[in-house]
Amino acid sequence: MNAYNKLVKDLAPKKFNKWSILWVLLLVAVIIAGIIAYIDQLIKGQVVTNMRDYALWGIYISNFVFFVATSFVGSVTVAILRLTNNEWRTPMVRIAEIISVASIIMAGITIMIDMARPDRLLNLFIHARLQSPITWDVIIIPTYIVISLLLLYFPLLPDFAILKKYYTKTSPKLSKWYGKLALNWTGSKVQKTIQTKSIKIIALMIIPVGLLLQTIDAWLFSTTYRIGWDSNNFAPYFISGAFVAGVGALVTVIYIVRKVNKLEKYITDFHFDRLGKFLALACLTYLFFNINEYLIPAFTAKKGEAVHLETLFTGIYATLFWIVTIGGLVLPTIALLFKKGRKPLPLFIIGVIVVVGSWWKRYIIVTPTLLHPFLPIDGVPESWHHYFPSLHEWIITFSTLAMAFLIITLLVRYLPVIPIQRTADEQKISESEKKTES
């Protein structure tokens, strides 16, 4: 077997083993439970949630913000690393693109789950007020979904053509599908020129669009005159937070895919070391904005804000706040500063901690603020002053996370997670005239 054939064999999608099948079945079971809970929510209304007049945004919105943040990985890793000519990006860009697609699709679905009347979805477009960040969000999310799909698809064209050929004998059906997806790719000079140009445009476009997406997400909060959200710092705070969540998710998924698909030869310790440094940069940036977000108000806070900060620092949310801040941000940052902390397994553990921390961080951003309105509502039941998600909310939320995992799993199953053509070009084991873009 020559080097090229070995490369294709190594990087071609692998069939599910029994553990993968079990994993998919588990995800499907969670998704079915979520669908049942959601149907019940549709029938009975949002009374099945614990959202009331105070906590009118709950776990669904914090989960939505988490998905939006994670989808930023497409902008930061693929586009920025590409534009800065970081060659080490090759084995990880596709996984980043896959995470980005899965996250932004689930962000769109999650926000619909939060709507009490999803049948009125069209009204968001028909009666849109262009002044409202919610309208901007309604516009930017489908836009980002399309751009993320294009960013995933264009670099896949040569790989689809390779896979079409690779599966001709072993799996003609799969080969036929890859052939259709390859769009008659022959690798001709003109085709390569169009593809290269298109990828450059997408890479350039996805950065401002990604920044817009995170900014709009932040403005959804900061344009609402609420304690804890009324901050000029919110957009960069969200962008840096998305940077952390996205790279954290990338590190985690890459480790698992590398292990399951046995890609140690292609995704090496060097790549993890670089990713670790990248994650450290993200964490340090986010840490800076966190200090800005909490320390300055701690000095200047008026009464309402002081009560809110007290709830976070020493009150009911203190345990969660400090675990998320120290455990989910400060300690990972310190660990990432050491070379040993950037080895695959430690980095994977740090990635998991950072992602879980990022999820709870969104919960801390959303919920405590809602429980401290400037104008408290008179005569509401005492229970409305507190919020913890109901069973329906938990099941549906876990279901959305399972859906995101399922999208990633299926894409990893059927797509080459490491660009085959570009790797071949880099290793100079093909006779391509020009490097293929990815």
Binding site: R129, W136, T143, I147, F154, L183, N184
Partner: protein
Amino acid sequence: MSKLIKNIKQLELRIFYLMILSIILCTLSIQDVNAQDVKKNRVRLKADYVKIMDGDSYFDISASAKIEKKNVPVSTIEVIIYHELNDDQIELGTVTTDSNGECRFIIKNFYNLKTDTTNTYNFLISFKGNDAFKKVSKSIEFKDASIAAEMITKDSINYISATLRETSTDSLLVDQSLNVQVQRLFKSLRIGKEFNNTDENGTIIVPIEEGIPGIDGNLIIEVVLNDSDEYGTVKSLVKVPIGVPIVDESTFDQRTMWSTRSKTPIFILVFTNLLIVGIWGIIIYLISNLFKIVKLKS
């Protein structure tokens, strides 16, 4: 024989028990019958006569009742208003109380009504009663008074001058307390001294403070004889253009970030649409590139 006597005694005892039982049962049934007689409550009617100069004259009527030691308003009861002259009663109309137990009856053609020999108007306000409340009526008597008010300016100071008269005799009313106030949105704002008693000419003169804001600079000044036992409430309104004009700060008709969708600021419309068209234009171009790649098979 003794057995017979014993049987008779037992029979008497049974009849006695039966009688006792009958009495108890009868008493209970009588109580039941009485329980169905619901005790009716008494409505308390209150009526204030108000006359607006060059405007309506009306009665502000309120109905309340003491139920379970609490004063509660009596709503949706019909009150009939009669004009009484000598022994005649002329029905002027009816009015129904609202949820606060209040209603207003405007007296139409007030000057067609006649007074008695003492120049007093006599009215009767009556409620005929219903299942819950007893019938009740209340008499109201008053003489007609009028206030002639105007603004005068002396040494660059504006004053309100008002003269109070009894209409039927055209006599000046001396030493009566009049209130001078400016109409505001929720409650009138008093100006001048707390008590302004009419002098021997039946007149008061009250300076108007400067700097009171009014829509388009107009102030409506009220001179009020308030709740007089003899004349009721008489109110004269004078519109004077001496206020500080209120500048309308509402942005309702402007294009703002908080307006409706039809009043979106132009810069938002332009900037957002440019972004949408720009980004989606590129996306369409990219999708068209995919078609180009398909066609470049050869």
